[in-house]
């Protein structure tokens, strides 16, 4: 009896300790958001010591070294808006039509194959899109479209459009698929054509989902950095036509952050640029949340095409949807195929494991970059999981509706919308400078971990939540402490879901070049093992590709190395993504949800 009592007391203590740790983990995400805004604002505002607000926002000259410095950001602001507008204008309709086709028209086997394929494509690193753009679309625009250099708003817009297509399609498809069948049946039963069902039932009923798909795509387009930095041309001018080169805010931060000395006027102006980017992002989020059809406002518009044969219109629109699908699939298959074919041709033993030449990204073997990427993936995921999984557990099962919980949720949502380049700025200030880590594996991993926190929290929370209540109740009913419920029920049941989150986080750590360029990499100093010497800078695949594409394409063997690196990187991210999707499906089956 005494023994049993002691056990109970001990378990109660363990449970209390566990709850405290969960709460602390959850609090860290609030700290991250506060930190990001704090550093952006504190540093950004310092730019106002040198130039007035008007000079920064409306100035067209960027010359941070002149006296007085000229910190005009207008060309960059306009470039961001321009590229985003073009990419969304291309990608939104194509995604919507594609998603509608896949959700409603495609035969089941096609949907079953394409759904995971689309999710996989979302895992192609943006630097690879950039490489593709530089080698194909840029020359095309130069020779056939009459763009002066080929580097242009248009090419950037198209590349970004292809990048955001899978994201938008995936979200919109889920939204359309979840429209209750009874509404579709009602409409079909009234003699609506398939297209009329789409127009009058599926789209209106899925409106908020479609809007959030559009929002996600727009956010990515705005924040996209590396690909845009590669194909936009980086020109410091207001683009007059889509064929002119430009320099969006994100690219501007990337290009200047490694050049400008810490504490210089231009350095502060970059934080100001980061602030502007954050403001734009917030505006998009707010706008998307407002898109919700107020139910039942009469919309007495005359039915267009009443004279046209509706069945014919329906057939035309179905054809259009298929065409959109073919365009999207063509673009994505084209890019993947291009990388695979060229990559396989470029890959050989020497490129991978040959000698390392310090300071020469073209002739140096790739293995240090691969090692660096793996180290960044590993450490960042460890950090993200250490904070993210407890946070998720807290949110899923231990959070009441307190202020604190709301703040944590808000923090996670905010973090999910922060562009990766802003994480780079944050990491460069906090980890590299203030915490004196310098450019290092550790600083890069911590930065990536902060960026991946929302991904891990969201997937893990969902996994914890979908553990059926009856299992928890069964354990509780048998007298298990919460600690044991977590250990014996929640964690094992949610494992595939958590693993999916972990793989996604690893994937993002591998593919994001912008944050690590600001915090972790340096070509040439890489002789140490990045797993051991975490306070040394490192090489990384995404960075290597970026650097070659940006500066070394003139060198004869440069392409070969870039393609080889791209193939290795894509192999890493696609297999991780594949694993994540596989895990998700297994998890959905485990908790008995329809796939």
């Amino acid at each position: 009896m005494v023994a049993l009592r002691e056990v109970t007391v001990r378990q109660a203590q363990t449970t209390r300790r566990m709850l405290t740790s969960l709460t602390i983990a959850a609090a860290l995400s609030i700290a991250a958001v506060v930190g990001i805004y704090f550093f952006l604002t504190v540093n950004g505002v310092k730019a106002l010591q040198f130039n007035s607000l008007g000079q920064i926002l409306l100035g067209t000259t960027w010359d941070p070294e002149s006296t007085p410095p000229k910190l005009g950001l207008l060309p960059m602001i306009i470039s961001t808006l321009y590229v985003t507008a073009i990419s969304v204008a291309i990608a939104f309709p194509i995604s919507l039509l594609c998603a509608t086709y896949l959700a409603e028209f495609a035969p089941t086997f096609l949907r079953r194959t394409l759904r995971p394929a689309i999710d996989m494509l979302a895992g192609i690193p943006s630097v690879v899109y950039g490489l593709f753009g530089i080698l194909t679309l840029v020359p095309f625009a130069r020779y056939y479209l009459g763009s002066p250099s080929g580097y242009s708003v248009l090419v950037a817009g198209i590349i970004v459009a292809i990048m955001i297509l899978p994201y938008m399609t995936s979200v919109m498809m889920e939204a359309i698929r979840s429209v209750p069948r009874e509404y579709v049946e009602a409409a079909r039963g009234m003699g609506a054509t398939r297209w009329q069902v789409v127009r009058t039932v599926l789209w209106p009923a899925a409106l908020s989902g479609i809007a959030s798909g559009g929002m996600l795509g727009t956010l990515r387009a705005m924040g996209e950095t590396v690909a845009v930095a590669l194909v936009s041309g980086g020109a410091l001018m207001i683009p007059k036509s889509p064929l002119d080169p430009c320099r969006p805010l994100s690219a501007h931060i990337l290009l200047q952050a490694t050049v400008l000395p810490v504490g210089s006027p231009g350095y502060y102006a970059l934080y100001f640029a980061g602030l502007i980017l954050m403001l734009m992002v917030t505006a998009v989020i707010v706008a998307a949340h407002r898109v919700r059809r107020r139910p039942g406002r009469p919309r007495k518009r005359r039915v267009k095409g009443g004279r046209l044969n509706p069945v014919l219109v329906s057939r035309l629109m179905t054809g259009l949807m298929i065409a959109a699908g073919v365009i999207a699939a063509g673009a994505l298959v084209g890019i993947t195929g291009y990388i695979f074919v060229n990559g396989v041709r470029a890959l050989d033993w020497n490129v991978l494991f040959g000698p390392v030449h310090i300071g020469d990204p073209v002739h140096s073997a790739l293995y240090p970059a691969l090692l660096g990427t793996l180290a960044l993936m590993f450490y960042s995921t460890v950090f993200a999981v250490l904070v993210g999984v407890p946070t998720a557990l807290y949110l899923a099962h231990f959070a009441g509706e307190s202020r604190f919980t709301q703040a944590v949720r808000f923090a996670i949502d905010t973090l999910a919308g922060v562009p990766s380049i802003v994480y780079g700025l944050f990491g460069a200030t906090l980890f590299v400078v203030y915490m004196k880590m310098g450019y290092s594996v550790l600083a890069g991993a911590l930065t990536l971990a902060t960026m991946n926190l929302p991904v891990v929290v969201r997937t893990a929370e969902e996994a914890f939540r979908s553990v059926p209540r009856e299992y928890i109740e069964a354990a509780r009913g048998a007298g298990a402490s919460w600690y044991h419920v977590v250990k014996d029920v929640l964690l094992p049941m949610a494992k595939p879901g958590i693993t999916a989150g972990i793989t996604l986080s690893m994937c993002r750590a591998a593919e994001e070049a912008a944050p690590i360029i600001l915090t972790a990499v340096m070509i040439g100093l890489v002789t140490s093992n990045p797993f051991v010497h975490v306070l040394q800078p490192t090489d990384a695949l995404a960075f290597r590709i970026y650097l070659i594409a940006k500066e070394y394409l003139m060198v004869p063997e440069a392409r070969q190395v870039a393609f080889a690196a791209a193939l290795v990187l894509v192999a890493v991210t696609l297999s991780l993504n594949f694993l994540a999707i596989y895990m998700r499906d297994r998890f959905e089956r485990k908790v008995g949800r329809e796939v």
């Binding site: 409409a187 054509t193 209106p204 139910p295 009469p298």
Partner: protein, 254 residues
């Protein structure tokens, strides 16, 4: 006059035979009630009359459903199917007005699909609401969302939506099973008002309801039509002993 003439109708869901050779005539402008235990194929039968069976890719039909001199099961093109559905309207078990549309827009839905002009639509919307006995209750809030109505009102809204296109036939598949007794009564009254105007096929598993409103009644069991007759006759003087048994159990003796 006969609205539907069903001849040896068989329906397969994949391998499973859900209707096993149905022969039935459905009289025009009368109320035909269809009764039978759960899973006996009542809904499947309805789906053959409005061709919603064609929306299920793995469903297959054999036999003849004659409507207006044509075997509608042979309709393959979207034109033919849609044209048919505009003459044969359906009210489903679960009230399903479109929640993102106003009351008015819900009723106008089918008319707008046909490309009718808005002035005429306005007139027809009022007529349909009147027929569905809903006009008095919603006249001054036609622009409110349909989701603001009660369950019974929503179902009558669905009846109005179906009637607005002026169909020849109104199919109702257990339209009151989600409703409370008062709302059920109201629907029954509405249906009785429509007798003589449209052909009504009314599926129910509540025998007193079938008795109250039916002119004719068909009894389905395990995919077969056991017996069909004038309602009073079928209930008071069942010919088949399976019918007798079912009625006794469900209705209580007498």
């Amino acid at each position: 006059m006969v609205a539907f003439k069903v001849n040896d109708l068989r329906v397969y869901y994949g391998e499973k035979e859900a209707l096993k050779g149905i022969n039935l005539e459905i009289p025009e402008k009368k109320i035909t009630t269809i009764i039978g235990p759960s899973g006996c194929g009542k809904s499947t039968f309805i789906r053959c009359l409005n061709l919603m069976i064609k929306e299920i890719p793995y469903a297959r039909t054999e036999g003849v459903v004659e409507f207006d001199g044509e075997n509608i099961l042979e309709y393959e093109s979207e034109e033919e199917i849609i044209h048919h559905r505009r003459r044969v309207a359906t009210v489903f078990q679960h009230p399903n007005p479109f929640p993102w549309m106003s009351i008015y827009d819900n009723v106008a839905y089918g008319l707008r699909l046909m490309g009718m002009d808005e002035d005429e639509i306005e007139e027809r919307v009022h007529e349909a609401l009147e027929k569905a006995a809903l006009l008095d209750e919603v006249e001054d809030r036609l622009d409110d969302p349909a989701s603001a109505l009660s369950g019974g009102q929503q179902q009558r809204l669905c009846i109005a939506r179906a009637l607005a296109v002026d169909p020849d036939v109104l199919l109702m598949d257990e339209p009151t099973s989600d409703l409370d007794p008062i709302a059920t009564r109201k629907i029954e009254e509405t249906v009785l008002e429509l007798r003589g105007e449209v052909t009504i096929v009314f599926v129910t598993h509540i025998l007193p309801q079938a008795y109250r409103i039916g002119d004719y009644t068909a009894f389905f069991l395990k995919g077969e039509l056991v017996e069909a007759n004038e309602t009073k006759e079928l209930f008071n003087n069942p010919q088949d002993e399976r019918t007798q048994e079912y009625i006794e159990v469900e209705f209580g003796p007498g």
